[in-house]
Symmetry: C2
Subunit: 132 residues, 2 copies
Amino acid sequence: MELLSVCLGVYYGEFTTAAASENLTASQGKALTVLRRGPAAMRTLARVLTCDASNITGIVDRLEKRGLVRREPSTSDRRIKNVALTAAGENVADAIRAKMRTTQAGLDGLSDEERASLHVLLERVFVPPTGP
Amino acid sequence: MELLSVCLGVYYGEFTTAAASENLTASQGKALTVLRRGPAAMRTLARVLTCDASNITGIVDRLEKRGLVRREPSTSDRRIKNVALTAAGENVADAIRAKMRTTQAGLDGLSDEERASLHVLLERVFVPPTGP
DNA sequence: TATTGTTATACTCTATAACTATA
DNA sequence: TATAGTTATAGAGTATAACAATA
């Protein structure tokens, strides 16, 4: 428990620093990281970032003002706005990922077998089994 | 890397919820958790919470107003104020810890051997070797 | 001179509540 | 009626810069 807290603190600290080096807050960096997988509705973004939907407006506002994301109307539901990374946003998201050096180096220091083992153990601790 | 981010989210979310159930923010809860190990100077607290020293004033102010911590002058250096948990603060810190049920249950689900293995792997990834 | 804690300031994140436009 | 996004608001966290007291 203690060690988990320390490790996750290191990880979060490194992510915050990486985001800051691109002049982004941790929340903004996290939003870009999420959008790296593909566009998402404002509501979806709120759920993934585990914050109230009203907060997303401001976060996306600031990212959009810097040209890192854009809002696109949904074709199927006119209430929905999808947020997508711009080319500049993709570059920044990639840059943040690349700057997670300590964590990445630590992972690279493990053998494939050890990495797989860590993966399994972390999943068992943190990813709750989906009941029927 | 991806999984680490998920684990961090789960752990941090659970901690935030546990702190909120005691009407505390995550930062306040973290401060109590740190002080559980013993009193610390304002400056030390800032370093552990990885934030600027100026922020600690407000965080400790709010905790002190609720009677969870107290400021004590250092006997050896009159510039220093040590922050210590009150009895009430200890109770709240214990309550937060007890409410980290999902994480604790996940850890309890591992065998002693698996837990030891996880410990070793996490240390290798996150705790950098101290060079000479 | 350097360090500790504080204050003042500005920005961001956060939840709540109320609003609009759609469904 | 219910949902998606927005706005307004208030409280909290955050870094920066400047300050008084002490080392």
